[in-house]
Structures are given as structure tokens and as C-alpha cells.
């Protein structure tokens, strides 16, 4: 393939990935070798020739991997040709396929953004990739590769967001998912992993502590989803013992134009449900909506505020956003709400690797690592429930992957993509400590799930949910500078 020769793969070295271990926050660095049995990252820093050979061989599955390649896979014992035919054949073919997929993904990403960009090559690689994988079956790696390929294709097409048209997934946009599918997937996700509950409970506990002596509480929720977070908050408020009895709770949910889960109607429905639930447990409650314009910028003036109420800003970002304007929307929301001097800002977002990674490729690999861990975590707990996981992947993780890649893509060359937590700190928000109770609750919650999950406390105001050695989700608590707690 003449085109392959023109690319310079040696431009970046994979050894940068190992620097992740030197995280200032302690020993939570990602050891790439622990990540997955499929990949030996350290062995990937091959030279250019090997890569071209690999690409060639990947393109043509019939090619047997010969000598030159073996050197790359030295540290990767399963792949040496003589072990191919042993009992571990199934494992090794699986692993070698996984490795192939990764190589292909990397090649495509590189072709898309590297020094020698070549969109046609990227497209060719992606087409080939998609022939090899399906988002619905196969190993974790295969399904993951399918979604990543999809996402990369979306970038190629310039969609820039989660919607890339109907390709593998049969519709990238969230609106294409039937409501019950979304619900089912949501329920499944909650049951299979602590992702959802971790964020909700940590935020709620912080809120409860912050408003312990208030009579009126007003929460502005960026993305209320089904409102499930507030069910447990209401329960906690109703049963609180110190301070004034059950405060009045007011929730303002943001809704957007258009259809889908954030539309006016859906949010209104959620409001009705919350109202009914509140009534059933005796929680004084009122619900409002705040509509965002088409450009999704948030105007603080459109909120109705009441004197004497404790204002809480709740920002759950770990569920997929389908608009490529999500970034700006979130920024405007956080900026705007900070001007209102909220008592508390709760933020839950995905925790990507250390922001030392610059450049698209580095973050791309980090993203791959991240979602691989997510997939692994789901499988570990529920290895038999493949369909369930596929649904969750399709409804939530796939779009999330697309969104992440879109964000990384748009930010390439701009330096760091910082987390929203960092952003909040930069604009002057004050971190609030995580209490012992909160940390304890998180640990107990994780105890209900697979042992591979862990929680750690970072920077005093942040709890991070991780799977094995990979951080996945972080919940952080802030306050605007001037308010006094």
C-alpha cells in the first residue's frame, strides 16, 4: 500500500503512556500492562517499518505475522507464532485480534490527525475495522473498537458530535433511541455498576450537609434525566433529625428545545413524577423548568430565586451529551450559576487521565483505556448478561465515546483539555471538603458491587470512583467564593 509508506508513525512514542504512573496524587497511576491482557503497551513503541508491516498485515487478515513483528510482541508472550496453536489458541487469537484492532484504531486516529494527515487512509482503515467488528457481539475489545471506529468516522464526517448518521449503531442521536430502551438501559446501568449511584449519592450527601440548617433549598439541575437523584435526596431531607425539620425543596431543571430526554415535555414529565413522589413521602416540593435557547447558553436571569433559600447547583456530566455544543453549554451554565453565589456546586464528571497528555493521539489512547476499563467493569460484575451490557453500551457508552472523542478532537492543538473541576477552581470556586460520612457512604456503596471498584479521595473535595487502577468518575464539591458556609 503505497499510501502507508508516507505516514510517519515514529513521530510519537508510546512510551509517553507510561508516564501516567507519575501522578502527583499518589499511586493511582495507570499501569498499562494491568489494563488488559490484550495489549502490552510498552511493546508498542516499535519503529516505523514494523508499523507499516503491521498495517499491511492488519489489512489482510491472511497474512501470518512473521519474524519482524515478533520483536514488537516480545513482552507479549501469547502472541509468538508457536504458541498460536496451543490450548491457549482461543485466548491468543482473541488477544491478537484485539491487538490488531487497537493498531487499526491507532492508525486511523493518526491518519486523521497526525502530522501527515490523510483522510482517505483513515476512512479506508475504518471501513476495514468495521468489517472486523460489531458493536453487538464479540469480545469487549471488539465491541469497544466498533464504537471507537464509529466515533472516528463521525469525526471524519465532520459531524463533530455524537450524531454521525446511521452507521453501525443505526442512529447516533439519542433521540433515535426509544424511550423504553433508554429507561431499560438506565436501570441496567444502575444495577450493574455504581456509576450512577456514586455520583448521585456523593452529591446528595454533600448537599444534605450543606443545607443542614436551612428551611428552603433550591436546586438547579443541569440535566435532570429521570430525576432519580432527587428521590434519595428527598428521603434524606424528610428524615433528617438536626436542624429545622424537612425543608422546602425547590428544583429547577434545565430543558432544551428539541426532542429527546431534555426536551420541555420530558422534563415536565419528570417534574410531575418528582412532585408525586415528594407528596408520597411528605416532602414539601415545587418544580420549575428553565428553558435554554437553541444555543444552549444559560442566562441566570431566567431563574426565579427566592430570598433566604440555599442555592445548590447540580451538574451531572457523566451521562452522554449529544450536542457538540455541550462544552459551551456547560461552561455557560457554570459561569452563569456562579454569579448567583450558590451555596454549593456539585459536579460529577468523567475522570480522564492526567492532563499531561497533549495532542489528540495521547488523549485518544487515554480514552480507549478509559472505556476499556468501563467495559471491563461491567463485564466483571455481569459476565453472563451480554445483552444487557450491549444495550447499555449502545444507549450510553457509545454516545459517550463519540462525545468524548469529539471533545478531544475539537480541542486538539489547543493544549490541555481540562476537567470541569479544574475549570471551576480556575474561575474561583472554593473547594468544599468531603466529609467522613460521605466517603464512608461511597465505600459502603461500592461494597455492593464488584470488588474491583474502589473509591479514593483526592484534593479534599473530590471522591473518585475507579475500576482497578483506572479512575473513572469523579464527584467534586465546590462553593462560590463569596458565600460563607
Amino acid at each position: 500500500m503505497a499510501m502507508v509508506m508516507d505516514l510517519d508513525f515514529s513521530g510519537y512514542s508510546y512510551s509517553t503512556t507510561t508516564t501516567i504512573t507519575t501522578s502527583t496524587e499518589g499511586d493511582q497511576g495507570c499501569n498499562w500492562n494491568d489494563w488488559s491482557p490484550v495489549v502490552d503497551w510498552e511493546a508498542l513503541s516499535g519503529d516505523q517499518e514494523d508499523f507499516h508491516y503491521l498495517i499491511d498485515s492488519m489489512m489482510d487478515e491472511n497474512v501470518v505475522l512473521h519474524q519482524p513483528v515478533r520483536s514488537i510482541h516480545e513482552g507479549y508472550n501469547r502472541l509468538s507464532p508457536d504458541t498460536m496453536m496451543t490450548d491457549e489458541e482461543s485466548n491468543s487469537t482473541e488477544d491478537s485480534k484485539g491487538l490488531r484492532l487497537i493498531h487499526l484504531l491507532m492508525a486511523a486516529a493518526e491518519a486523521l490527525t497526525g502530522a501527515n494527515k490523510c483522510r482517505e487512509l483513515a476512512r479506508v482503515i475504518l471501513v476495514r475495522l468495521k468489517e472486523l467488528v460489531s458493536p453487538l457481539d464479540g469480545t469487549n475489545m471488539e465491541r469497544l473498537a466498533a464504537y471507537f471506529a464509529e466515533a472516528l468516522e463521525g469525526l471524519l464526517d465532520g459531524a463533530g458530535g455524537g450524531g454521525g448518521g446511521k452507521k453501525l449503531l443505526g442512529g447516533g442521536k439519542e433521540e433515535h433511541h426509544h424511550q423504553t430502551d433508554v429507561l431499560a438501559a438506565f436501570q441496567l446501568l444502575q444495577d450493574m455498576s455504581p456509576y450512577v449511584k456514586f455520583g448521585h449519592f456523593t452529591a446528595n450527601q454533600a448537599i444534605i450537609e450543606a443545607v443542614a440548617h436551612d428551611r428552603r433549598v433550591h436546586i438547579v439541575d443541569y440535566d435532570i434525566m429521570e430525576g432519580i437523584q432527587w428521590a434519595s435526596l428527598m428521603q434524606a431531607l424528610v428524615s433528617r433529625k438536626d436542624g429545622p425539620p424537612t425543608p422546602h425543596l425547590r428544583i429547577t431543571a434545565l430543558s432544551r428545545s428539541g426532542s429527546g430526554r431534555r426536551s420541555f415535555c420530558t422534563v415536565q414529565e419528570t417534574g410531575r413524577r418528582l412532585t408525586a413522589f415528594a407528596a408520597s413521602i411528605g416532602q414539601p416540593f415545587s418544580f420549575h423548568q428553565c428553558r435554554l435557547d437553541a444555543d444552549e447558553t444559560f442566562k441566570p436571569s431566567s431563574l426565579k430565586l427566592v430570598r433566604g433559600e440555599a442555592l445548590v447547583i447540580n451538574c451531572m456530566l457523566h451521562l452522554p451529551h449529544f450536542s457538540y455544543r455541550a462544552s459551551d453549554s456547560i461552561a455557560s451554565f457554570l459561569t452563569g450559576s456562579k454569579t448567583l453565589n450558590p451555596r454549593l456546586i456539585t459536579l460529577v464528571e468523567e475522570e480522564m487521565g492526567p492532563t499531561g497528555e497533549t495532542g489528540f493521539m495521547g488523549r485518544f489512547m487515554d480514552s480507549l483505556h478509559h472505556y476499556s476499563a468501563v467495559y471491563d467493569s461491567l463485564e466483571a460484575g455481569f459476565p453472563m448478561q451480554g445483552r444487557a451490557r450491549t444495550l447499555v453500551e449502545r444507549v450510553f457508552l457509545g454516545p459517550r465515546i463519540s462525545g468524548s472523542l469529539a471533545r478531544i478532537y475539537r480541542a486538539r492543538g489547543e493544549g490541555d483539555v481540562c476537567s470541569w473541576g479544574t475549570w471551576l477552581a480556575m474561575v474561583g470556586c472554593r473547594p468544599i471538603n468531603i466529609s467522613f460520612a460521605n466517603h464512608c457512604q461511597a465505600k459502603l456503596l461500592l461494597g455492593l458491587y464488584d470488588d474491583g471498584y474502589r473509591v479514593e479521595e483526592l484534593s479534599n473535595n473530590k471522591l473518585v470512583l475507579g475500576w482497578k487502577s483506572r479512575r473513572l468518575l469523579s464527584a467534586s464539591i465546590w462553593s462560590s467564593q463569596d458565600s460563607d458556609l
Partner: protein
């Protein structure tokens, strides 16, 4: 600079308690010199610990190195660190941390010779530990309530969704191509091999699918997840990971979580209350029994669905028809004929908590 923290602890009959050594450490002058953790020293300790990444990551050795205080030994640091971890309390409450053994407790406080004070200091620490434990129990209790609340809330959503779908299905006569605002057919209703979670009318189709379709199982444990059973498990080869619900017995301190699950089950179950009758007899909610050994590739293990905890019995369920015990005894290897067998042996009548009021109702 190094002043005793609590003047009140200095009784009138006390001799001066502390001398400042050359290294800046304050040692008591009682028979066995003990280290006094003064404010300043403690602050340096805290700084060092923070530098090292927190009390859980710091070790006495590294702290000692970082602090660089002469005369400070590992023993001092060990016990101080332990207390720090326990409570993260200002050291006011733990004046003297040079505990090496029980007897040293006696000399702990300023008034080492006063037995009254000894009792108090031990009590303080004891109280601290107790307080923590108590708090942990509180957190646990609250967590359980909160999870239940969310479960209950989810149930209302699911119920609504069921009704909506049921309504849609009635209206359109079939569940494909629903002409409402949804732009696509729900995958769930479209995929017949899925046991219905929301799409109850499709239960009718379940009769068609015989023993090969494991997905027909409905577990009481999850109204949805259990339905998603793989047709083949080939992609799981070699990846047998411990299942959280498999080792429920090992989770001693979290036994309560089993009850928790039961509550969740309760909500899930009652969410299915709107089903048609005839099918309930056949497609009952089952508690997927836990077989301790998790078979990766066999059909039988598929029945474990969620590998629900064995305690998953009907006890906490308002509906006592489930006989989980019998489930547990069911032999693990269940071959293809399982589904029919299962239908029959299904939690007997237990099935659908028809019209059962929510446990939270």
C-alpha cells in the same frame, strides 16, 4: 513555643511537665519520658502527611524523613499516624501519642500519676473509635434508605413506561412501527428474544420460544437485566471473574445489603404488576438461584442471571410465595430443557405479584 495545650490539665499539685529538648521536642519529665505532640509538632506532622498524599498513603518512615525532626522515632510516628487516620482529629484530643503498649496509656496524659486522668484518656480514645463506628452505622442505614428511595422512584417510572407501552401496543395492534413521537421502534419490543421488561404484551410471544431461549427468564431480582441473556457465551471464554453476588456470604459486614436487594426486588417485582394474567402462570418471576460455582459457558449458568444472593428469599418480600430455599437446592447443571422445567418449577404460584402493593406503599 511549646506550651502545654490544656492548662486545665495542669493540676495544682503537678510539677512542671514538659521540658524542651535540644531537638525541639517536648518530652515529659515523668519517669518514662514521653513525647508530647504539641501544636507545632502536630502541624509539621500534618504537613508531612499531606505532602505524602494523605494519611492512608503516608508511612511512618516517609513521614519521619519528610519531617526531619531529630529524636522522633518510628514508634512515635506509628502511633500518632494511627490515631490520625482514625479520626483526623486535631491533636488536642490525643495529647500524647507515644503509646507503645497498654501500660503506657497510664502515663499518657499530663497528669500521668493521676489514675483518674488515665481513665479519661482511655475513654476519650475509646469514645472516638466508638463515635466513628456509630457514624459508620448511621451512614450505612441512611444509604440503605436512600437506595430504597431511588428504587421506589425507579419503579414508578417503569410502571409508567409499561403502561405507556401497553397502551401503545393496544392501540396499534402490534408493537412495531409505533407511530408516536418516537422515531424508532424500541429495540426491546422488536427483539423477541428479550424477555419483556417493559414490553409486557410481548409476553404472548414467549410461548413460542422453547427451551433454547434462555432469555425468557424473568428474574424477580431485576425486572430488566435478567432478560438480557446471551445466546452464546463464547465471548466470555476464559473470563471468569468473581461475581459480586456470588460471594455474598463473604460479605459479612454488609449482610444488610441483602435485605437491601430484597427491597429492590420488591420494587422491581411490583413494577411488573400490570401484566396479563394467563402468562403469569407460565412466566413467573424467578429468583435466580445462586450457584456458587459460576460456569462460564454453560446454559445452566445462564439461569443464574443475576447471581442473586442466596438470601434473596421471599422473606422481605411482602409476597411470600417465593421459595428461595428450594431454588438454592436446585442442582446447578440445568440443561437445555431448563426453560420448560423452569417454567413449571418456577417459584410456584409466586409469580407475578399481581396487584400487590408496593412494599413502600
Amino acid at each position: 513555643m511549646f506550651h502545654p495545650k490544656k492548662p486545665s490539665t495542669m493540676n495544682s499539685h503537678e510539677r512542671p511537665m514538659c521540658v524542651q529538648g535540644d531537638s525541639g521536642l517536648v518530652l515529659t519529665t515523668d519517669p518514662k519520658p514521653r513525647l508530647r505532640w504539641t501544636v507545632e509538632l502536630h502541624e509539621r506532622f500534618v504537613d508531612a502527611v499531606t505532602q505524602l498524599g494523605g494519611p492512608d498513603k503516608a508511612t511512618p518512615k516517609t513521614i519521619m524523613r519528610v519531617m526531619g525532626v531529630k529524636g522522633l522515632t518510628l514508634y512515635h510516628l506509628k502511633s500518632h499516624l494511627q490515631k490520625f487516620r482514625l479520626g483526623k482529629q486535631p491533636h488536642k484530643e490525643f495529647n500524647d501519642h507515644s503509646l507503645k503498649d497498654a501500660s503506657s496509656l497510664e502515663l499518657q496524659r499530663n497528669n500521668a500519676s493521676s489514675s483518674g486522668m488515665m481513665g479519661r484518656s482511655m475513654n476519650e480514645m475509646q469514645m472516638e473509635v466508638n463515635r466513628r463506628l456509630h457514624e459508620q452505622l448511621e451512614v450505612q442505614r441512611h444509604l440503605q434508605l436512600r437506595i430504597e428511595a431511588q428504587g421506589k422512584y425507579m419503579q414508578t417510572i417503569l410502571e409508567k413506561a409499561c403502561q405507556t407501552l401497553a397502551g401503545e401496543n393496544m392501540a396499534s395492534g402490534n408493537y412495531k412501527g409505533m407511530g408516536n413521537h418516537h422515531q424508532s421502534v424500541p429495540e426491546i419490543s422488536g427483539m423477541k428474544e428479550f424477555g419483556p421488561l417493559m414490553n409486557f404484551p410481548s409476553l404472548q410471544d414467549l410461548n413460542i420460544y422453547g427451551g433454547d431461549h434462555l432469555e425468557l427468564q424473568q428474574s424477580i431480582d431485576r425486572s430488566s437485566i435478567d432478560a438480557f441473556l446471551p445466546n452464546n457465551d463464547t465471548f466470555l471464554m476464559g473470563k471468569k471473574r468473581p461475581n459480586p453476588y456470588n460471594n455474598s456470604n463473604g460479605k459479612g459486614p454488609l449482610i444488610w445489603s441483602d435485605d437491601l436487594r430484597l427491597q429492590e426486588l420488591g420494587t422491581a417485582a411490583s413494577s411488573l404488576g400490570s401484566q396479563d394474567d394467563p402468562f403469569k402462570a407460565d412466566h413467573q418471576i424467578q429468583i435466580a438461584p445462586l450457584s456458587a460455582d459460576h460456569r462460564g459457558n454453560d446454559i445452566d449458568s445462564v439461569s443464574d442471571i443475576y447471581e442473586t444472593k442466596p438470601i434473596l428469599s421471599g422473606e422481605a418480600m411482602a409476597d411470600k410465595k417465593f421459595d428461595a430455599a428450594s431454588k438454592l437446592e436446585r442442582p446447578s447443571p440445568r440443561r437445555a430443557a431448563f426453560s420448560n422445567e423452569r417454567m413449571n418449577t418456577v417459584i410456584s404460584a409466586g409469580g407475578m405479584p399481581q396487584g400487590r402493593s408496593s412494599p413502600f406503599g
